[in-house]
Symmetry: C2
């Protein structure tokens, strides 16, 4: 039986790095009490400086009622940091042996109704939970860097994770001010990093081949697709740009462009199944909004984004 | 001998679609007089509605002194639209035969000191200029959609383009409120679309394989990398995230991750040459800014972006 969401008051954040520190700051800003576990006292200064830096932004984004840095306690004894905890966010170093040993310990000492969520970006929960004797409540909750600013958390269980824990975790993160994305499968890089990594590798190819410099890459992103992508994902961007016909027009009319060498990544075969999934997915996102209304909304938000950046 | 930048007062914009209409609105907002050439009178209503929509955003972004919709004249006679023009922005349909015939005509009737710039996204100027008798002043100036909002223009000549025309065109767009990117080579998709296309094809693979839905893709972008990418390109994002060591640490330490299956796109070999180009390029962009200062600037701008989107 998992805890009721409203009963979550104390979060333990494990790890002194930018991810552990960022999570601690985020939960504090959301009004939780936070116990931070650091491996050693030597890490206290760097951890505090990460939290302090994050707090500036979090204040500008708006703190929850009762949110305070006073609600932070730092521990270098793991067991102490877990006493009475209601949720564990683990951001230990990205080494499988370290994580497996840690989950062996956590599995024994953390009460069974407490979810343990890992920030790992490169490992799977199926691997991490192997030595854990209570693996059903272990899950991945992978943030996007910096975790105190970007709302995304990708959630996926391992083979032994209870599916109820996955959906409970998504609900919890949502309540805690995050934008959860529950993965359909354990895939390397999850969704967001895969998208970013494809772009990044194409960028490296261009630099390697003398087609662009790093400054060209960044100029192209900042002044091209990125401000739009911040307000409208790539699927809806194409859907809206194609007017009345939407994604169906995009794929039926420009589908052949997927064969053009516009990137080194070969596109998948545009099967009827893929076409229909894309069209249906975009129709669902659009709901009853007309494309002109969505274009207007996109423009208003892009203008706001460009003006906001200019003013800083 | 090309015109002096300050003497450019009248721009001819060819094309009634979102690109032609978007360019016309952009130049009007920058205080130019604009002659718009439309293929037929049937296109006048749709063209006017594109300009009107764009004008709302352009007003919010800030109009130049003297900017007015009164400075727009619509023509359906090509020769008339070119009388006395100082710059031609061509956004005709994306078909090579249409463009080649058009440039044959433009090459004859547009005075030789006037630059003709094509908005093409899929053709090369080497192809387009083949029937033109004055190809040295023809060039590509490819905007990013919507062209009245996103500042990027990618500039590249064809084989017969005079290199001075390429740099003149970059200077002109800069003066006209755009962010020019001069390409090193004629490559399919230029830079920005290649980056976007790599991401897009990885997205299609994920949907095809049941790893994500279109809503997952857009959620991942909007709440993950995109708000950061709008204020900091991917090269500087990794440079700054790696602290003191910057891009060198990123590539030396995480280089092996380029071999991981985090996308279907295989990375290029991380040669010393590529590493050095990346490190040098990021060092140049950073100048004398310390990474902490750049991280602070990034955070401030991301907060501004997130708050700006929320408020709309």
């Amino acid at each position: 039986m998992l805890k009721r969401l409203n009963d979550i008051k104390l979060v333990t954040s494990i790890g002194a790095g930018p991810i552990g520190g960022g999570w601690a700051a985020h939960f504090l800003a959301q009004g939780f009490k936070v116990n931070a576990y650091l491996h050693s006292e030597d890490e206290i200064d760097i951890f505090n400086s990460i939290v302090k830096t994050a707090w500036v932004s979090l204040t500008d984004l708006g703190l929850a009622e009762g949110a305070s840095l006073q609600n932070l306690q730092i521990f270098t004894n793991l067991e102490e940091s877990l006493k009475g905890t209601h949720f564990v966010q683990e951001s230990a170093p990205e080494r499988l042996d370290i994580k497996q040993d840690l989950y062996e310990t956590l599995g024994r000492i953390v009460p069974i109704d407490v979810v343990i969520s890992s920030s790992t970006s490169g490992l799977t929960m199926t691997e991490i939970q192997q030595k854990c004797n209570t693996p059903e409540r272990t899950v991945i909750g992978h943030p996007f860097n910096p975790p105190y600013l970007l709302p995304l958390v990708e959630i996926v269980g391992g083979e032994k994770t209870n599916p109820d824990v996955v959906s409970w975790t998504a609900d919890f993160y949502k309540m805690a001010g995050k934008s959860p994305l529950v993965l359909k499968k354990e895939i390397p890089g999850f969704v967001a990093t895969r998208l970013q990594e494809a772009l990044w590798r194409e960028a490296l190819h261009m630099v390697a081949n003398g087609e662009a410099t790093p400054a060209d890459i960044d100029n192209a992103l900042i002044n091209g697709p990125a401000p739009r992508m911040a307000v409208q994902g790539q699927c809806m961007a194409f859907h809206v740009a194609c007017g009345e016909g939407g994604m169906a027009t995009n794929l039926d009319q420009f589908g052949p462009a997927l064969k053009l060498p516009w990137t080194r990544l070969k596109a998948p075969e545009l099967t009827k199944d893929l076409r229909d999934k894309m069209v249906k997915g975009c129709a669902q996102m659009a709901g009853d909004q007309h494309f002109e209304e969505m274009a207007e909304d996109r423009d208003k938000k892009i203008v706001a984004v460009l003006n906001a950046i200019k003013s800083k």
